[in-house]
Symmetry: C2
DNA sequence: CAGGATCCGCCGCGATACTG
DNA sequence: CAGTATCGCGGCGGATCCTG
């Protein structure tokens, strides 16, 4: 084996020894919303090939970033504690990237999941609300409780509200905010308009300005 | 040209489009301590080759991460505002890496500069002190003023204290702290023992625990 | 000496095909 | 569904040479 290394006694260089190869951090990003199976990762990472995904998963498992969880039918890859500890780094890189990002190009793939990951960082805090999302048929949950925001895949029991719509419309809702008329185009709302305002307002709009403390 | 891209409308993916290739983030790290010339970067990045450094510098300049500053004799590469905005991401990755790093192997190169970069993040705040370092003949400065820590290359006028020694001894001082007897082995001190304790105590020891607020 | 350019060999990556 | 096998190409590493 003997992976390529910078051979520098430096935290950053060591991190890049493990994370610097292509796709690795994007796999971590996708797992931040919850465990996923091989085929789900493959679909969620447009452009990666099967051999490369398999190789990366092996390397990441040997580096203890991920582990195979569950058994039988529920078998899936999930982050270890060490892998989850990458969340601040992913948020810092993501913030820098979102600051430079312009309008999506025609070649850009989109996923509401990329956005949901960034919402964990954009949460302002101080809200109490449990929401369910159904974007393009896939369920997600946002549970806001004081300073903590738990955002991931799947439903949540006892949700206060529910949004259903196309991923691109839901993404626009969180990226651009509610329109003046308070009607979110193309989105089916189960809940009050006030809850919707609370949900959307719980997150900072973008990364152009300084995020409120 | 047309660099390789993940083609994902996601901040992290966009950041990795720019930063994901080999050596790029390490160049930014080295420039965080101040501008450097081509040959200085080459010496400071053991293992990089001349062609690759030249290529990376071109790419980074076209991405507006760095710019050629100064003129004539003082010409050097320096970070732009956008490049300097990477400091939080570098600190986050560095913290993760320092947490996993063990003892240096025999192949590991060392540099007091890698450590100084991490000190900017490890600064506890609340100290007022201007110190000069001379490690392996190279001068550095640490100016601590309240919440701000300015750490970089070169001297600082009106330093309160001065340390001189081998880089490895100075690195050990900040990584392991002052020995019980308060005598820093192999280090020449201009200043009081109290100042030395203040300086060393102004930074957290490592990344194993949670850094104090 | 600073700041590259050029050539070459290799391996990481991407695409496709195939297997348990 | 969850990977392995194979192959071509381009990015990378190493060395050398060039120009102000």
């Amino acid at each position: 084996m003997a992976r390529r290394s910078y051979d520098q006694y430096c935290g950053l260089a060591r991190a890049l020894d493990v994370l610097g190869e292509r796709w690795t951090l994007l796999i971590v990003r996708n797992l931040l919303l919850g465990p996923q199976r091989y085929s789900e990762l493959l679909r969620g990472l447009p452009g990666i090939t099967t051999n490369l995904l398999a190789k990366r998963l092996q390397e990441m498992e040997s580096e203890a970033l991920i582990e195979r969880g569950g058994s039988g039918d529920g078998a899936a890859y999930q982050l270890t504690t060490s892998g989850r500890a990458l969340e601040p780094a992913i948020h810092a890189l993501g913030r820098w990237g979102w600051q430079r990002i312009g309008k999506p190009t025609s070649r850009d793939r989109r996923s509401v999941e990329w956005l949901l990951v960034s919402l964990r960082r954009r949460y302002r805090g101080g809200t109490t609300l449990a929401a369910e999302l159904e974007a393009d048929g896939q369920p997600y949950h946002l549970v806001l409780r004081g300073d903590a925001a738990e955002i991931g895949r799947g439903r949540v029991p006892g949700a206060d509200m529910r949004l259903r719509g196309k991923g691109i419309d839901i993404a626009r809702l969180f990226l651009e905010g509610l329109p003046k008329d308070g009607e979110a185009a193309g989105i089916e709302l189960e809940g009050t308009a006030k809850q919707l305002r609370t949900l959307v307002g719980a997150f900072t709009r973008g990364d152009t300005g300084t995020a409120p403390a």
